[in-house]
């Protein structure tokens, strides 16, 4: 295999299975622009006859007959049902029973429930995954069990790959909590309500064939139509699209971990001290323990200072919904609801806005929600002395997480903050070089740990303000040395040469590869 180096010095194969790889050249360099649209997109549909279309199919067999999938097909899914999803496993099992092989699965994310796909990976039904790989499937990928080299993309990067025709989907299977027989669908109603349904939007617009699967068929017109029926070929009513108790976690209890709370408190203090917390500012914070607590602490500071935010972006939780009701937030721009309060708010409150990957994160957009953000609070499995961030692999080399919206939010926000404990169990978070680069240090401004804040030297403005406010600042190398005194210095994991997954930057260039573990 021939290799070249990208601008971060990471080795990138020149070509994989006929795809010429473009090395990452910088967060905004866009070296793939000229290749835009090189792949095939959906052929124009014939103009429909003068008749009401009949899209409702009787059963799975009729649906799969009509979709007419062959060996090597690419099928896609969304992850709004999260760990309660019942559709991905069902579709793959049925295609396997029909004897299909070498499928490419292109989900927006996978969850532990999808470990049920492992036997199909081992038997050759699934040859490749283009999308996030978590838990058991990520580990199988790291062990080299997936036949082809997989591709990991951010939510924005995936949307772009579909838009550019780089990721072509033969059939999109869209689980819909609420749909009509024409294919209009949303996630707001029904027994499996999940809130927004936007992650499936790019697939519905570009896939060759689009199928809606619903367990709540409503009379036409189902509205609002998050997925337009005009893009949908077939509709199948099923008994259940998933386990609704796992679709929304329902737990929004704040963490009691003093270390997490310390990091959250420092994060909120930093945001205020940096002058970001002004009237009309906007933020994105995930649904992890530290992010939720940081949101709560930030809200306390906003209340005290009489500051109101214009919007919060990303996943929605009860915490954000309560701030919206209180008036501390003007609106929520929501890609995914994490609990029942958020699902209800999305359905009922017009200032709770349902978004989609193009509007929120689209790399080839004329700006997206992420570019309107003043601050993003994101996590990491590792960071390194160059502020590069790893969210995909653990220090032992195992691929265990997807990218989500991480790189999109980091590239867009005016200030990108990474929050993480400085070590987990015995494993230090600050490394000389991260095991895998997901996000370049170029777009990372501050790293907040329980032992202090490290600010990217490029952001002298931020460090000056933080210093003035008396916040504990330290350099990443000092932090690494301090933590090594507690944990010891870890060995490097052993890899084989073979790349098992590509980490694609938002623009389609390759920022890093994950290699097969030598174990």
């Amino acid at each position: 295999m021939e290799w070249s180096a990208n601008s971060l010095g990471r080795a990138i194969p020149v070509e994989i299975k006929g795809r010429k790889l473009v090395p990452f050249a910088g967060a905004f360099a866009d070296p793939c622009r000229e290749r835009q649209g090189e792949g095939a997109t959906r052929a124009p549909r014939p103009i429909p006859a003068r008749a009401k279309p009949s899209k409702l199919v009787a059963d799975w067999d009729e649906l799969l007959d009509r979709l007419d999938l062959h060996d090597g097909a690419t099928i896609s899914f969304h992850h709004h049902l999260r760990d309660g999803d019942g559709i991905v496993n069902e579709v793959v099992a049925r295609l396997a029973a029909r004897g299909l092989r070498d499928l490419t699965i292109a989900p927006t994310a996978l969850f532990p429930v999808h470990d049920a796909l492992l036997p199909y990976i081992r038997s050759g039904v699934i040859a490749k995954i283009e999308g996030s790989m978590n838990g058991g499937i990520g580990a199988a990928c790291s062990r080299g069990e997936i036949k082809e080299t997989c591709v990991l993309r951010s939510h924005g990067g995936r949307q772009r790959a579909i838009q550019d025709g780089q990721l072509t989907i033969d059939a999109a299977f869209i689980a819909a909590p609420c749909a009509d027989s024409f294919g209009n669908a949303n996630g707001r109603g029904g027994k499996s309500a999940c809130g927004p349904l936007g992650y499936a939007l790019p697939d519905s617009e570009r896939a060759r064939k689009v199928a809606i699967l619903t367990d709540s068929l409503v009379p036409y017109p189902c509205q609002p139509w998050s997925i337009q029926g005009a893009n949908v070929d077939w509709v199948l009513e099923v008994r259940s699209i998933g386990d609704s108790s796992k679709i929304v976690s329902g737990t929004t209890r704040l963490t009691r971990s003093p270390t997490q709370l310390l990091i959250a408190d420092l994060t909120a203090r930093f945001i205020e001290a940096a002058g970001i917390m002004r009237n009309g500012f906007s933020f994105q914070a995930g649904a992890g323990g530290i992010s939720l607590a940081a949101t709560v602490y930030l809200a306390e500071r906003m209340r005290k200072a009489g500051v109101k935010a214009s919007f919060a972006h990303g996943g929605a939780t009860k915490i954000l919904v309560d701030l919206l009701k209180e008036g501390l937030l003007q609106s929520i721009i929501d890609l995914q609801s994490f609990d029942l309060d958020a699902v209800r708010s999305c359905a009922e409150n017009p200032r709770h806005i349902e978004s989609n990957p193009f509007a929120s994160y689209g790399p080839r957009s004329a700006g997206c929600v992420a570019s309107m953000l003043d601050v993003a609070i994101l996590g990491a499995t590792e960071v390194d002395l160059d502020f590069n961030v790893n969210v995909n692999t653990h220090s032992d080399g195992f691929l265990l997480h997807g990218i989500g919206g991480h790189t999109d939010a980091a590239s867009g926000a005016g200030c990108t903050i990474i929050t993480a404990p400085s070590f987990r169990k015995r494993i230090p978070i600050v490394r000389e070089k991260v095991t895998t680069v997901t996000c370049p240090g170029e777009v990372v401004d501050a790293i907040v740990t329980e032992r202090g804040i490290a600010i990217n030297p490029k952001r002298g403005d931020l460090s000056e303000r933080a210093k003035f406010a008396g916040l504990p600042l330290l350099s990443l190398s000092q932090l690494m040395d301090d933590v090594h005194k507690i944990t010891g210095i870890p060995e490097a994991p052993q890899f084989k040469d073979r790349p098992v997954a590509l980490i694609e930057w938002r623009d389609g260039s390759i920022i890093d590869v994950v290699r097969e573990l030598d174990i």
């Binding site: 003093p258 070590f423 169990k425 015995r426 329980e450 010891g488 060995e491």
Partner: protein
């Protein structure tokens, strides 16, 4: 311990289970670890290092690890080997740890109790702004884990890299229990700043500890009298002897109250919710608290209040701290780091304290400029530790305002 197998530690997060099996074959080590890819070699090396400190060269050591820090691992190996009867070779005695000294009159507003046998709590315990960190060998540790725990705490204190500049305290078991003496002989050489003595009932309880510590200090080459004592009073008999207890040893720097055991000891039963005519919670211990405060203040040491047990009730904690302060207590025990900022807020410096501190600092700095070390301000002797405490008080006061 089952025949030839000796086990220490726990299969828990940030801990490890170590088993030593006697045998004639040369020493071998088997490591199973969730961080094996990153620390497998380091774990093996530590096991061998500790084994060599005990002159062990045969048998098998098995480690089942979930990310224990090196000091935890070493403590677990040491405990397993000592259970098998091995004794540390004198030539390998650990170096006496270097620790900044504490001072008699320092702040002890919040003192955080850490269960001694939960190593994952220790790593960050120095970060939460408590004045004192108390490693508990007593109530938080069940009998069958006392042995492993005192070794773990000693090792933690010997390294103590992560503990910051807190006052490091160990709560031992009462000397009347089967564990107290062993606790002392394990812990003193790791030079904690102070030792708290639970269930003190008489001056003799304190003098007995004082003498035992003196002997151990001497053996370890530690300056005589450098380790402070904080007796805890938690029985009716203890309350009635509180003055004698407070004055029983020059090591005493504080007198602590333990409410739960005290209430049980005097047979107090809380009325059902809404019942009873008394206006306040804790009424059963009011006299005891006041006697402890009087005894401590009359002896020139700090009276410190019990913990507030409901860690979810932040409002209740704050009010109980205000009450404690109103009575004359100088600090409060803390069970969860989240209680610390609340205690600190309740015990924040007053304007009167701040202006007095300002006067002390100014007088001390002025004297220092003239080359004098100790002076008198309003009749009180002011030396470097007193001036330092005044500076700390001023910093806190200014942060608030």
């Amino acid at each position: 311990m089952e025949g030839n197998r000796f086990i220490a530690g726990a299969a828990a997060k940030s801990d490890c289970l170590v088993a030593y099996e006697r045998g004639d074959a040369p020493m071998s080590v088997v490591v199973r670890s969730s961080v094996g890819a990153l620390f497998g070699k380091a774990i093996g090396a530590t096991v061998l290092r500790v084994a060599s400190e005990f002159g062990v060269s045969s048998g098998l050591i098995k480690v089942d690890d979930d990310g224990a820090l090196d000091g935890t691992l070493a403590a677990r190996v040491e405990a397993a080997l000592r259970k098998a009867g091995f004794v540390r070779l004198p030539s390998t005695a650990s170096a006496t740890p270097l620790r900044a000294a504490s001072s008699r009159g320092r702040f002890r507003r919040a003192r955080l109790y850490l269960p001694g046998d939960q190593p994952h709590l220790a790593a960050n315990a120095g970060l939460f702004g408590t004045d004192c960190l108390i490693f508990d060998l007593e109530d938080a540790v069940v009998a069958e884990r006392k042995f492993d725990t005192r070794i773990l705490v000693r090792r933690t204190l010997e390294e103590s890299l992560m503990l910051g500049d807190r006052e490091i305290v160990v709560r031992i078991n009462p000397l009347s229990s089967p564990y107290g003496r062993d606790d002392l002989s394990e812990i003193v050489r790791a030079r904690p700043h102070a030792i708290t003595l639970p269930k003190c009932e008489s001056a003799a309880d304190v003098t007995e500890a004082d003498e035992a510590i003196s002997a151990l200090e001497k053996a370890a080459g530690i300056k005589q009298g450098s380790i402070f004592l904080m007796p805890i009073i938690e029985t009716a008999a203890g309350v009635l002897s509180s003055r004698e207890i407070a004055q029983a040893s020059p090591r005493n720097v504080a007198l602590c109250f333990g409410r739960e055991d005290f209430s049980r000891d005097i047979g107090a039963v809380a009325p059902p919710a809404g019942g009873g005519a008394f206006p306040a919670k804790g009424i059963e211990s009011l006299l005891a608290r006041q006697m402890i405060i009087l005894a401590a203040r009359a002896s020139g040491i700090a009276p410190l209040d019990s913990v507030f047990a409901d860690v979810e009730d932040e409002e209740g904690l704050f009010l109980s701290c205000l009450d404690a302060r109103a009575l004359g207590f100088a600090g409060k025990g803390v069970l969860h780091p989240l209680q610390i900022p609340i205690v600190m807020k309740a015990f924040r410096p007053t304007e009167v304290e701040a202006s007095r501190a300002e006067k002390i600092v100014a007088a001390f700095d002025g004297a220092a400029a003239e080359g004098r070390g100790a002076i008198s301000v309003d009749g009180q002797m002011v030396d470097a530790p007193v001036a330092e405490k005044a500076r700390a008080l001023l910093r806190d006061y200014r942060e608030e305002h």
